[in-house]
Symmetry: C2
Subunit: 645 residues, 2 copies
């Protein structure tokens, strides 16, 4: 192929798998773009980022600027939900090269009549594009460059900044080259900033021993909202299987009255599009969703693709399950373990298209009931390409939908789910406890390619994870874990009633709760007050008030000479919100240290003063210079400082 | 798109720009391939590299093995010249998963009748592919697995290694996924191992003041061959322009008898397809090429796309040059400098296709005259896509052709030329002098992506580069520079007569030779002998005898506790040739140090003995353990040790 262009555009970043998958942003976020841009020789070049929402016809253009090593940089802002595309256009700027060359020759004392004659062509080419006043100027120049009697004036104008500005404004883009478009998926803001609370609706009854209902949940909404949570996630609310139902503490035989695991979905009462009768009716559910919205709470639904042996799918679509030659069905298993209350879906089914369609219909059904957030159970045990397809199908019609991937498995599997389209991802945060681990993990999430596609959601605990460091831990430890999650990550969640009451009895030697709500109803004290709850509410308010805490990637860890203290600086894209956070990891003793402020990022000198406000409690300080002393005590093991400018 | 596959194949390496450009190898070389390969869940997987010469129909297959982090590895060997393709095929191995699962359940004491019944299906599926004896065994198994009376025997066979081997040998590859094919360009071996000598044929006359001819060059071939060089590169041999011809020392006015720069190509005597009359005839040239071949020397021709003002192209194809509106032509320039003996080619020409074709015809013309190697002058001032096209066109017909890029410019420009297809590249070696610089540069060339597409050619000097460190330098320095080039890089060259006589007079303050042969004829002593020449010959012989020195990427620098000493280990792909090199960078004093052997790579223990042979002079030693003492003196500032096993 004979291609006359001179410009090579390479290493365009960010991109995922050559543009096969999308990088992610939310509305109003910036995308910092870079590329290697080269041409032969030493000519001056120019480059632009062209970008648009996929549905738009017109490309917007932002000029790039050159670095030191043929690397170019530019930044765009995405404003609408849905798919964006961007590409890079680059060209040799012949007019600017002419001006640069003639300038060097004039400085060298050479006569440049030939070059001025050439300049007339560049000037004339601009006249079509220029404004009226510019046109007058350009017309004057084209006369001047031909007028030997006005040589000195011509030379002055030829090298003028005025002409340079016009050349830069209306580039000819002769033989320009353009890179392949790359996709950006833009979500609503909540994809990046959300505060989740999880409880089991069946434990919502006010009377001990009663099965909670959706109606019981309604009075609890105010508490959740007052604490500053905006997302209320319920484990599955569908009919629970009766065949092979699990007993308390995951025993294989259910006793009379045992309620079973709500992840064993499906019974004679229906399947994934139905409501467990003991929780109420579909109308009750819709009412709860509506009442929650009134208090700015979205209900997140569990999407768990598996079936109890008595799920209607098993009879209606036997090919969606795996049957052995002897007619027995394949239970969920991790050999030698078997989970006889659950059948996995058989995605190798010949009727996989029928299966996929039904899975999609389930989502559409609940979206129609007012659900916009799905927490997806064990997505890593279903094919990646299935997720890519189903999430794209949903988002095409409903760009507001948020999918949270509940996969705790190998790193590349978790990354792949995010690449394939998950809006948010559970993380290893639950197990990262010391300063070294925490900083290493957050830097991996925010300073590598993962920052472009994986939005972490930090959970100190879940019904499945009662981490060793919380078992028997005191209040200070719980505060630390919450403030770490809430300031390191803009998406967070807690398995609420258990966390805030600091309940941590575990199965011996395991990170699982004793008498887990997964298998039985519990009675919680929904009126409880304590210092931890007060601080959770305060921290959540700080997150709402400070945009710096509503994003995850703009973080810089700062030096502090104490392994029990962590310090970091966060800012929003526009730097109109900046916070500085110090957290103690010692829940027994006071810790002191001297912290180094990121003065370069703060735009202050090494001896300047800095005004800060401790958000909890509301106290103003003035810090002096780069190094400052901090001291933290177990009862209040953190500072969140707002930087005041 | 609904895609039922479960396997994701990502980050396939090596590749250049998503396969748009080729990685490079020579015949017989290995390609180490890796990829991230994932499926949902925890199933056992398998993967193969499929590869073939582009013209072949059948893919060869090599199994990959898994690393620790869903990363897979495999190695192939390329045997033919031309384009190869490789891709990765990966699948979930259902049969092996069945065997793994049944094994865990049996160990757990579970009854596995259902699983055995399932096993019959896996065993039967193999029968078509298996060998006769395997078929007998498989048939036995399918009976056995159904026979409840032989349960114990069935269980033993089900988990047997014998069955596992058969499963692995004949994978079902159900729902396998395959990555996109990626190209490898395979050159002849000389692309990776070549030893260049450069002189100006016009300086070959035996009598002072005479213009040398091709006939004068013939008697010099033996000397070049005896010293161990296999490539003889001549600056341009075409008619030299007479208009604006350069005088001695690059003065702008030629005096009578001045021969001009041979890079100012073209005159009334012809252009790029003609021979400068004072060098002889085309037949003389062909004779020289043939005589050289008899002594295993290939003549490398200079390919310099530019024209003197009196080049025939200027009249015949004025559109291939840039003309100003006033009718003056654009000289080569780097403002404010002008080079009035040279017109650059105008690649923006509307007749670029005619131009490109003529450039290609020039190459075909000289290839027909017996030339297989082109040293391309200033390729970075011509478009990248032009080089890609013209080199592909040539290689399609003539896969033996080698192109050396003479570009000394910004790093990414040099890399891009290599990516676009240059066989070899001049490098910054000429200016890298201390240990830190040398190691850093060689690691960049051999341990980054560059190692896949850029084959360095190390030149201690060229007619254009008389580096400061060689100006006035003693013999030891010259030896060091040669041995560094010759052992660090498998492609090397010298501007011979000047280097071996240690001539280094320079224009004041510049890295250019005084009285440069670029602008005048010089008289060399072609009979000279000295210690440097002896060592050059010895080093060249060592390179011929040891495959470890015939490649560049297999290098590992070793710790040595002296900044004036460098030590490194090199090996061929098969590790049948291994050398250990120590070089002193001090050309005035003796240097001593203790060097750490790479015992892991050598396959010896920390206290084992190692037999080595110093190649120059031929002396055997036995080293003991990991750390060994070395001492080097300025007159013999290196050891090249052959490792004897």
């Amino acid at each position: 192929m004979q291609k006359q262009q001179r410009v090579v555009i390479e290493n365009v970043s960010p991109q995922i798998n050559g543009g096969a998958l999308s990088i992610k942003r939310v509305v109003g976020q910036l995308v910092h773009i870079s590329a290697d841009i080269l041409a032969d020789g030493h000519d001056l070049m120019a480059a632009s980022i062209l970008f648009k929402a996929q549905k738009d016809k017109k490309w917007s253009e932002v000029r790039m600027s050159a670095g030191q090593n043929d690397d170019w940089f530019g930044t765009i802002k995405v404003e609408k939900q849905g798919v964006y595309e961007y590409k890079i256009e680059a060209w040799v700027d012949y007019a600017l090269n002419w001006q640069y060359g003639i300038g060097r020759k004039i400085a060298d004392g050479q006569r440049v009549n030939s070059e001025l004659a050439e300049g007339v062509l560049y000037v004339k080419a601009l006249q079509k594009k220029a404004s009226t006043s510019e046109k007058v100027y350009l017309k004057k120049l084209s006369e001047l460059f031909k007028n030997e009697d006005a040589y000195d004036e011509a030379v002055n104008e030829a090298v003028s900044d005025k002409l340079k500005v016009i050349f830069e404004k209306y580039p000819e883009k002769f033989l320009a080259n353009t890179s392949e478009p790359l996709p950006i998926y833009v979500d609503r803001k909540k994809a990046l900033f959300s505060t989740w609370y999880e409880f089991f609706p069946r434990s919502a009854a006010s009377k001990e021993g009663q099965h909670g209902t959706f109606k019981d949940c309604i009075p609890l909404l105010k508490r959740v909202s007052d604490m500053g949570f905006d997302t209320l996630y319920f484990p599955p609310v569908h009919p629970i299987g009766e065949v092979n139902r699990k007993g308390k503490n995951n025993t294989t035989t259910a006793l009379d009255g045992d309620v079973g695991s709500c992840w064993g979905i499906g019974s004679k009462n229906g399947g994934h599009k139905d409501i467990h009768p003991e929780l109420g009716s579909l109308d009750d559910f819709k009412e709860l969703v509506a009442k929650a919205k009134e208090q700015d709470i979205e209900i997140a639904m569990d999407y768990a693709l598996q079936a109890a042996p008595d799920h209607p799918w098993v009879k209606d679509h036997p090919s969606w399950f795996k049957w052995r030659p002897d007619g027995t069905v394949q239970y969920a298993e991790n050999p030698p373990k078997k989970y006889q209350d659950i059948l996995p879906i058989y995605f190798e089914s010949e009727d996989f298209k029928g299966l996929w369609k039904e899975c999609l219909d389930v989502l559409f059904f609940w979206i129609d009931c007012g659900i916009n957030i799905f927490r997806v159970d064990n997505p890593h045990t279903k094919p990646f390409y299935f997720w890519n397809w189903i999430m794209n199908e949903v988002k095409k019609k409903h760009p507001d939908i948020i999918f949270l991937a509940e996969a705790f498995t190998r790193p590349k599997i978790m990354q792949q789910l995010a690449k394939q389209g998950y809006t948010q991802s559970y993380t290893y945060f639950s197990w990262r406890d010391n300063k070294h681990e925490l900083i290493g993990y957050v830097e991996e999430l925010t300073k590598t390619e993962q920052s472009e596609y994986m939005r972490p959601n930090f959970w100190p605990n879940t019904p499945d994870i009662n981490p060793f460091h919380l078992q028997g831990a005191n209040e200070s430890k719980h505060i630390q874990r919450y403030v770490l999650a809430a300031t390191l990550s803009s998406n967070i969640g807690i398995y609420g009633p258990v966390f805030e009451q600091m309940l941590s009895d575990a199965l011996p030697g395991k990170e699982e709760y004793l008498n887990s709500e997964k298998f039985q109803i519990q009675k919680h004290n929904w009126e409880a007050e304590n210092w931890l709850i007060k601080l959770i509410s305060g921290i959540n308010k700080a997150r709402k008030d400070h945009e710096a805490l509503q994003q995850t990637n703009n973080i810089k860890f700062c030096h502090i000479d104490n392994d029990q203290l962590m310090a970091f600086y966060k800012w929003n894209d526009e730097k109109t919100s900046e916070v500085f956070v110090v957290i103690s990891l010692d829940h027994h003793h006071a810790q002191r240290g001297t912290v180094q402020l990121p003065i370069h990022d703060l735009g202050i000198g090494p001896n300047d003063q800095l005004k800060i406000r401790d958000i909890l409690p509301d106290v103003h300080y003035t810090w002096n210079g780069e190094w400052n002393f901090v001291e933290l005590h177990p009862n209040m093991p953190f500072h969140i400082f707002e930087i005041i400018k």
